[in-house]
Symmetry: C2
Subunit: 162 residues, 2 copies
């Protein structure tokens, strides 16, 4: 593991580049997003203390991604290259068990989010999210939360009120 730091609004990865690392967050918050056709950020997810970080599809497939990974607050992370990651599984096959279960969890979480995005109204998504909003996300600009919930900052602001 190698330790790295990023300042607020620095990029860990940008669209068009290949993600070379798998990260674990020590402190700070990062957002993964893509730019849509109109050029504004569409947040897909966040990473913060204790969670994994990195542009995962690009890392695994070793292909350029469409994602940006940006530090929203000053961040410290540890990271590992793809070859280290691969050799981990080669050398210690018992890690596959862990990998299987972790991916299982991530999969179920993503399906959960998908269901919430397509079945709930903006208001419902807002309340559901705010009820279980992790502490580190309470201090980032609201526009990122709005984007993650697939609504505009204006809508988010209005829901906040009423």
């Amino acid at each position: 593991w190698e330790e790295v730091s990023y300042k607020r609004s620095e990029f860990l990865t940008e669209a068009g580049k290949i993600e070379r690392y798998f990260y674990v967050v020590i402190s700070g918050v990062q957002a993964i997003y893509i730019l849509n056709q109109q050029g504004d950020k569409q947040v897909i997810g966040f990473a913060f203390d204790g969670s994994f970080s990195g542009v995962y599809d690009s890392f695994l497939l070793e292909k350029p991604s469409h994602y940006f990974l940006e530090a929203l607050t000053p961040s410290r992370l540890i990271r590992m290259t793809k070859s280290k990651y691969d050799s981990l599984f080669e050398q210690f096959p018992e890690f596959d068990r862990w990998g299987r279960l972790v991916h299982q969890q991530l999969l179920l979480g993503r399906v959960q989010r998908e269901v919430e995005l397509i079945t709930l109204s903006a208001k419902e998504r807002y309340h559901l999210f705010m009820d279980r909003c992790p502490e580190p996300l309470r201090n980032i600009p609201q526009k990122y939360l709005a984007s993650y919930l697939n609504m505009t900052p204006e809508t988010f602001s209005r829901l906040r009120k009423g």
Copy 2:
């Protein structure tokens, strides 16, 4: 493995029940969906020849699910109980490698779909889907495709025209 058959519009699993099986489809098409607050079907995914089937979160967590799994065409599948599934990994740890990679793929696929759902217009989703629509899905009622693409059958029909 045990072989089972379902007629058109029979349920493999219903909301409120625990999914006891992990399936592989021999032939036929199934849809996984939930009923939203207004009581209409929200299709989350399809299974067909060669793919896995089953309500996966319920199966893994052994908890009642909110999903329905319905045969859209007469279907033949093979299935395995949770205890068989578990013992497979216990007895043959080399399956964990396979499991890890399969879950990885499923995860990337789900994220891909999520991105498409939130960044593309109905028209774009329609065309993207139709361009790569797997053969078995060409013969199921369009309303299921519409729902999967998160639009009404009316919208789907209009896009089909123009």
